[in-house]
Symmetry: C2
Subunit: 526 residues, 2 copies
């Protein structure tokens, strides 16, 4: 019987891995969307006559949920053990009623209004991430996430001419690109780059710069004057004779001294360039959709893992949901817990595997959500979503990408990482708010401290069961990390930390797919 | 009795015009959102004891609707005469059931599925346009319009190395910015720009270029290598050891010869930079919300104006809704018809006013909407909204900004202007589709011609009652245009053509506001 192309690909995927499968798909002309890793879910067909294998999955974060969901496609029996009372792990949407006590003992109970929320963990999805494929497959509605907005601000505290005042992204870009174009056109025209450019190159380059920087022609010295409106207007073009009043551009030295241009490249990043998306109603729509697809009854919430052992027959997991420890045996385990937490669980894992788990370096990130009773950023500042970036310790302020024109709105007052996150994390939630409002007021004025209706902050390093926003590896090529990619006996690992998309759900999902593919390949080939 | 600040501003607005009001608001510290023109609606208070004036408005497009809506705030009696059977004018959303016969006799009846639509006229709203203020005021829900997408394509037919293949925006940008940065860093470092830059400038500039272009340091000759993922991957970073496989950047000469970079500045424009918005469900949600706010009974649809006269008592308008002409008298008229159409209406307007109306130069634009039964641009190409730009006669292809992940989707196969619009406009709708599919196939492959479920095209120059997509003026400063800004007797004019935001609803709205302000000021001061 002839194989279908899909069956053939699945077989290639199982035996050759994603790399080989990708090449095969390429050869078959199937990869016009080349960037997304190829994957074929395991199928019951390949398990015919082999009995049902039971896989226990530690952690119902994105990697654990993805693993369970994919294994169920081939009829595996799955059990998920999750320490929290909800699915998603760091994919966590805080709404009115959400209560959390951190490791420092701070208890917060969110009082956000109906419809208002903050995504405390992941909050944006690039269009090429498999996260969107799962949204489609699971029926999770999506909407744009505003990751770039010409009218959001750049703010640099300091002593340069452009310091200590909010500058719209569009203004910073227009002036920077204008001066870059003027300078490069001059140098090119004067022959300074003749050893790198042909006459044809020079002509094409100057043509590009004229458009890119909106600069004058050679007779003007390719002068940038900032009069085309890109940088914004003091008075907008309107009715009758109002053609718009522009202000003079900032001076060249001031623009480059300010450092505002150093933010631009954020928007070019593989994972950050627009378009970006978010689930309608909160990022946790993804884990809850997984939970529904998997079956609520397969997930044991409130289950802390106390022990993990390879046995001759499979695996043995000890866990507790309260007082009395329970023991669960199964054929395989997939451990999707954060590596630095998995390392602390009593187990019979060999020393080099424990060492590899301990090799992970926890990183911190913090967020503070402020619900305002008035969308002053839209009404007063005409900023509809997007990010204001500063060199203050708050670093990034996000205006909401949902509820445009509504009565209320929830701003992410800070999204910061590393030392800045630790600075805020060391404070009480009330002190975090005070500090963030003082910083935000520098940028936005007194409006920033008014009409505050509810707040909630997260400090990931101090958050139970995560103890990090994400981890980093000293190396992913020196062989230590690689030990976690293969099964150790009947125990597999999965998680964004086992990918090159760390801190993204895409990393957790592709890792889970790789782990499921490896496990299934082993079962199907026996 | 002390004036409220709002009353004071209204008075300033009436007597001094928007410019003075703006300065006054500035002085009062009210213009943190400086760009939007100040406006205070007319109020009944100012008309106390003066009786009710009746204003007939010719045209229920955006300018006419805005005029009526604002006049009603002060209690004027308004009557709208509209030749079409619907409000909005060029603000026209085509859905299943929409039927239209153009001036060449082509009749189309759209068969788009439920929920699918194309905005044949205006389709996007910048966040600083007053159009959004009306959406808020009228309760029209908005959502992002994808005007920029790093994963949409640039396509240049021709004979350069980069011709005849789709190139993602992100790739074109990464390579262009990389080479620009490499070249300018070299020139700067070599002292070629020392007469324009201080040592401090040079250091800051090179710092910026390092980030902006992702280039190497001085020891590498500031070399751009394109390995940071901004330009995209052949294989995306994923699980395990897959760090992503990048292709080498295109060669410098090829990048600049291709002309792909000449599109970038579109995205920096005052009116085009993200974020952009659209009403949920179609742009005509705006005119229908106006209709509801104004009152359906105040609008006479199917009314073609046959005559327009100033009289000693006011105005006299002759119109027909079929056979027998009717005469309507009122105190004032606001003519919001396209100027080249208004010029043809029999009237007693003086010759210099007719000449001014005739001074307008009609422009063409065309659009073709194709509903596909599969969202192949999302599923196969991972393009979620945005614009593919080419040098083909189709010019711009828009992927839909609504219905992400749905079963169906409606692509704007072409949005072109001028000669390209005329080329398509001269064809039958069926021939337009054939030509557009042939062009789109060059960029997207055979998928472009498959799963087509419904189509509709518009050729604005050949569209009854509009006869242009918009107009342009040979000059807006030579005194001819300006004649239409003042009342001619009791007749006023309004429309986007009487603004510096031509072709935008913002222009129509700000013009209407200016006209209403002038009319009201006259009435209130008598």
């Amino acid at each position: 019987m002839a194989q279908t192309r899909r069956q053939f690909l699945r077989q290639v995927g199982i035996t050759g891995g994603a790399g080989v499968m990708y090449s095969t798909m390429s050869a078959l002309g199937l990869t016009s969307a080349a960037e997304t890793p190829a994957y074929a879910a395991p199928s019951r067909v390949e398990l015919a006559g082999r009995g049902t294998k039971h896989v226990v999955i530690l952690g119902a974060g994105i990697a654990g949920l993805t693993s369970a969901y994919e294994l169920l496609k081939a009829g595996y029996k799955v059990t998920l053990l999750e320490a929290r009372k909800r699915p998603g792990g760091r994919n966590w949407t805080v709404r009115g009623g959400t209560e959390e006590t951190d490791l420092a003992g701070n208890t917060q109970r969110a009082t956000f209004s109906k419809g208002q929320y903050m995504n405390a963990g992941p909050a944006r999805i690039p269009q090429h991430h498999v996260t969107l494929d799962y949204c489609r497959e699971l029926g999770v509605a999506i909407e744009p996430f505003v990751n770039q907005n010409a009218d959001a601000y750049l703010y640099r505290e300091g002593s340069t001419a452009l310091s200590n005042k909010p500058i719209r992204h569009r203004t910073a870009k227009a002036d920077t690109y204008g001066y870059v174009s003027e300078l490069l056109a001059k140098a090119t025209d004067q022959g300074a780059l003749d050893s790198y450019l042909t006459a044809t190159d020079k002509q094409a380059l100057i043509g590009f710069l004229t458009s890119f920087g909106s600069i004058g022609d050679k007779s003007s010295g390719f002068k940038y004057t900032g009069t085309d409106g890109r940088r914004g207007y003091d008075v907008e073009p309107g009715a009758g004779l109002e053609g718009g009043t522009t202000a003079a551009p900032y001076a060249l030295s001031d623009v480059f001294a300010s450092g505002v241009g150093n933010y631009f490249s954020f928007e070019f990043g593989w994972d950050q360039a627009m378009m970006m998306f978010q689930p309608v109603g909160g990022m946790d729509r993804i884990p809850y959709a997984f939970e529904q697809a998997i079956g609520r009854e397969k997930i044991q919430y409130g289950a802390e893992v106390l022990g993990l052992r390879n046995t001759s027959a499979g695996v043995e997991i000890t866990y507790t949901t309260g007082a009395r420890p329970r023991v669960l045996t199964a054929d395989f385990a997939i451990c999707s817990l954060p590596p630095h937490i998995a390392a602390k669980i009593p187990s019979n894992l060999p020393a080099d595997i424990i060492t590899a788990l301990q090799y992970a370096r926890p990183t911190n990130a913090g967020k503070l959500g402020i619900e305002y009773g008035r969308r002053w950023w839209e009404e007063d500042l005409r900023i509809y979503g997007g990010i204001t970036n500063s060199n203050l310790d708050t670093v990034n302020t996000w205006y909401p990408s949902y509820g445009f024109h509504g009565k209320r709105g929830t701003v992410i007052s800070y999204y910061n990482t590393g030392a800045n996150a630790n600075t805020y994390g060391a404070l009480t939630p009330a002190a975090r708010l005070d500090r963030a409002v003082a910083q935000g007021t520098k940028i936005h004025g007194d409006v920033y401290g008014k009409d505050i209706e509810a707040t909630f902050s997260v400090n990931w390093l101090g958050t139970k069961y995560s103890e990090a926003s994400w981890i980093s590896w000293p190396s992913q090529t020196d062989g230590v990390y690689a030990k976690l990619l293969d099964a150790t006996g009947n125990i597999y690992f999965a998680g964004d930390h086992l990918s090159h998309a760390i801190a993204w759900q895409h990393g957790a999902m592709t890792s889970a797919r790789a782990t499921v593919t490896a496990l299934h390949s082993r079962v199907a080939s026996k």
